[in-house]
């Protein structure tokens, strides 16, 4: 297994960052407001719960079918892309993906890359790799542009700058964009971004994009967007590089239709986006625009680990709509940055352990109330709460016999917890000992300490009841007879 170059936050850091956001009334209000807005917009798109259920079942069917045939579909996709004139590359991890893209840039002596929105490029930290090689990789999605200008990372997979107010952005533009005066007018701010980026689209040597769906049968890449920057990146520069996870492949264009319909409705409550872009190869003979060279980088980066296990494979059904985070009580309170992973929220908790290993991420599956909202809104029916429980188990135990260990298997084990559970099991499986324990615990309850490890940091201390449940039931029975 190759080591991952990704930066991540350790568990203690996660708690510190989460606590910081919870204590910040402005950030908390801004996330709460944004999530309420997105939840209401999504709900308005699905007035008929019975129809929604049928749509989700269909989408789940399509995703499960695509995953079950993934190796064949990837080969078919590759063959058809090659036939269409696209160069296909495979990357097992972030380093390989970055090296491939850097190689293409070097071939073209590239200085400037314009980027459409791509979470996989965030996942492999492409911008850092390009920066280190002296290539300017510029984000062109408005939200991503803002976040990059601020030197931050996206806090939401669909709305990257959701943690920023227009005042923040006004200040940022006035400071960082030459010749721009402070304005809180959103249209004026967007015009600033438009003007800056239009020049960059013209000058860029390379355009980079993500992929929402890769169609095996036709060798096509589908891109979903509202702004038009994705179209700019994939049409204006002479070279287009697309990067995507291997799980994005579907068999036919028809299979995309129900998924696309659910993606936009679940994500931002839109029935459709402004642009749906089906790209089937570079510029053809006689055409007057479009890139003359096109590449696709297929990235594994831990996805094959999830694929190997029938339950964990469901993680790969995801179409990256972000509805799970919009509806998550934890995400809403701590925001996207606290997680320290590229993908925040519920989907981040179940996908990041495969990308980064459990050693770096074991605390994340635990950061959930298991309320089930994420699973209920998931358009492709990923049982996120079940997968959280499964990953908690894998994080704190050795692999079950006959199962290959996950990367970082058992990394969350602590001596204290395993001793506590061993003691608990010992006590609760011996009736005489258990009765003695309960007798003592109820009599000497005044001895329970006021400070109990981490528990009492933000909660009242636990104290045994004066009477055990068994005693209470016995009393009730006596009264009744």
């Amino acid at each position: 297994m190759t080591t991952q170059p990704l930066q991540f936050v350790p568990g203690s850091e996660f708690k510190r960052r989460a606590a910081k956001v919870v204590a910040d009334p402005f950030l908390k209000k801004s996330f709460r407001g944004a999530m309420d807005f997105l939840m209401a917009k999504r709900a308005a798109q699905f007035p008929d719960p019975e129809l929604l259920e049928r749509q989700r079942t269909l989408a789940e069917h399509i995703r499960r079918y695509s995953l079950a045939r993934m190796p064949q579909l990837l080969e078919q996709l590759e063959a058809n892309l090659v036939k269409n004139g696209v160069k296909v590359h495979w990357a097992e991890n972030s380093d390989e993906a970055n090296a491939i893209i850097l190689g293409i840039c070097r071939q073209h002596d590239a200085k400037l890359m314009v980027k459409g929105k791509s979470m996989v490029s965030e996942e492999v930290e492409l911008n850092h790799a390009m920066d280190a090689a002296g290539i300017d990789a510029l984000e062109s999605d408005m939200g991503e542009y803002i976040v990059q200008l601020a030197g931050e990372k996206p806090s939401h997979i669909i709305m990257p700058a959701i943690h920023k107010t227009k005042q923040d952005i006004a200040k940022l533009f006035a400071e960082k964009v030459p010749g721009v005066a402070y304005t809180e007018d959103v249209d004026a701010l967007i015009q600033v971004g438009r003007d800056v980026l239009r020049k960059k689209f013209m000058d860029a040597d390379i355009g980079l994009s993500g992929v929402n769906f890769a169609v095996a049968e036709t060798g096509s890449l589908c891109l979903v967007e509202n702004e038009g920057n994705g179209r700019m990146c994939t049409t204006v520069p002479d070279v287009h590089i697309a990067i995507t996870g291997i799980e994005k492949v579907v068999e036919k264009l028809e299979h995309v239709v129900p998924l696309y319909g659910l993606l936009t409705r679940s994500a931002t409550g839109q029935a459709i986006t402004t642009y749906f872009n089906v790209i089937t190869g570079p510029r053809r003979e006689g055409e007057k625009d479009g890139p003359r060279e096109m590449h696709l980088v297929l990235v594994d980066n831990g996805r094959s680990q999830a694929y190997a296990d029938e339950q964990l494979r469901q993680t790969l059904q995801c179409i990256r709509c972000g509805a799970c985070m919009n509806h998550c009580p934890v995400y809403t309170r701590i925001g996207g940055h606290a997680y320290g992973t590229t993908y925040p929220g519920p989907i981040g908790k179940i996908v990041s352990p495969h990308m980064m290993g459990l050693a770096a991420t074991h605390v994340l599956p635990g950061a959930s109330t298991l309320c089930g909202a994420c699973g209920e809104v998931c358009p492709v029916k990923i049982p996120i709460p079940d997968l959280l429980i499964r990953l908690r188990e894998e994080a704190t135990h050795d692999a079950k016999p006959g199962h290959a260990p996950l990367v970082g298997q058992g990394a969350g084990k602590t001596t204290f917890a395993s001793l506590a559970f061993k003691g608990f099991a010992f006590l609760y499986s011996r009736p005489a000992l258990y009765r003695t324990f309960v007798w003592a615990a109820t009599r000497f309850r005044f001895l329970t300490p006021g400070k109990q490890a981490g528990w009492t940091d933000s909660r009242t201390p636990l104290k045994p009841a004066a009477k055990s449940l068994r005693d209470l039931l016995a009393e009730r029975e006596n009264r009744g007879s």
Binding site: Y65, R194, R198, F201, K252, T280, E310
Partner: protein, 222 residues
């Protein structure tokens, strides 16, 4: 071993469990079960929906669209109109002798800056439209290139009412897209937009700020 072999090897080593049946039938059954807009109402539904997406729609009899284009150019004070001279509608525009017509007749490399900075609007045809979502199907080719519907601040699109279908599924299956896709098939629903600043909707993020749909209806004169 290459990365490709390693990845495919790992995936192939997995026993896939029960493989679900192909979803094709489930998809077609699903779309067949939904209420369908009557043919006579498709143009109206399309028109209402795309208007809601911030497009401006002008319905005109099929033989009067050139006059409508002239009126739009005057109203919007469009001085340079990018067009595709080799298309049927392009020929009609050339014939009509409209002022300020600019032909997209050379590769982008030769005039990138002019395209980005010196064009007020572009006019393109469409392959059809979708009523359910108010969406145009745009099918760029050598004659009518991709950037026409993207770079100029105003996009004028000709939509023939007879080419409107109820859903995207109808379009993809009915027109058998998979048999011959262009380099870049497009669905366009309104002008370019973003809500990336505090969920406030703003138009003209990177593409056109205005989308003007000229909807051709009724019998052709000739």
């Amino acid at each position: 071993m290459s990365a490709r072999d390693n990845i495919l090897g790992k995936l192939r080593a997995v026993i896939p469990g029960q493989i679900p049946v192909a979803p094709d039938e489930a998809i077609s059954t699903h779309y067949a079960s939904l209420p369908r807009t009557a043919k006579a109402s498709l143009a109206q539904e399309f028109s209402e929906k795309i208007t809601a997406w911030h497009a401006e729609v002008h319905a005109v009899p099929r033989d009067q669209w050139v006059d409508k284009v002239k009126a739009v150019l005057a109203e919007k004070q469009i001085n340079t109109l990018l067009y595709a001279p080799a298309t049927a509608h392009g020929k009609a525009l050339t014939h009509a002798g409209i002022n300020g017509l600019l032909a997209y007749d050379q590769p982008i490399e030769g005039w990138k800056q002019e395209l980005f900075e010196g064009v007020d609007a572009a006019i393109t045809g469409t392959r059809g439209a979708i009523a359910e979502t108010g969406t145009m199907i745009v099918w760029p080719d050598a004659d009518e290139p991709r950037l026409m519907s993207l770079v100029p601040p105003i996009h004028i699109a000709l939509v023939d009412a007879d080419t409107i279908v109820p859903t995207l599924y109808d379009a993809i299956t009915g027109q058998n897209w998979s048999a011959g896709l262009p380099t870049n098939a497009l669905l366009i629903t309104g002008p370019s937009k973003t809500a990336d600043i505090q969920q406030t909707l703003a138009y003209g993020a990177h593409g056109p700020k205005e989308l003007i749909v000229i909807l051709l209806t009724g019998e052709a004169a000739q």
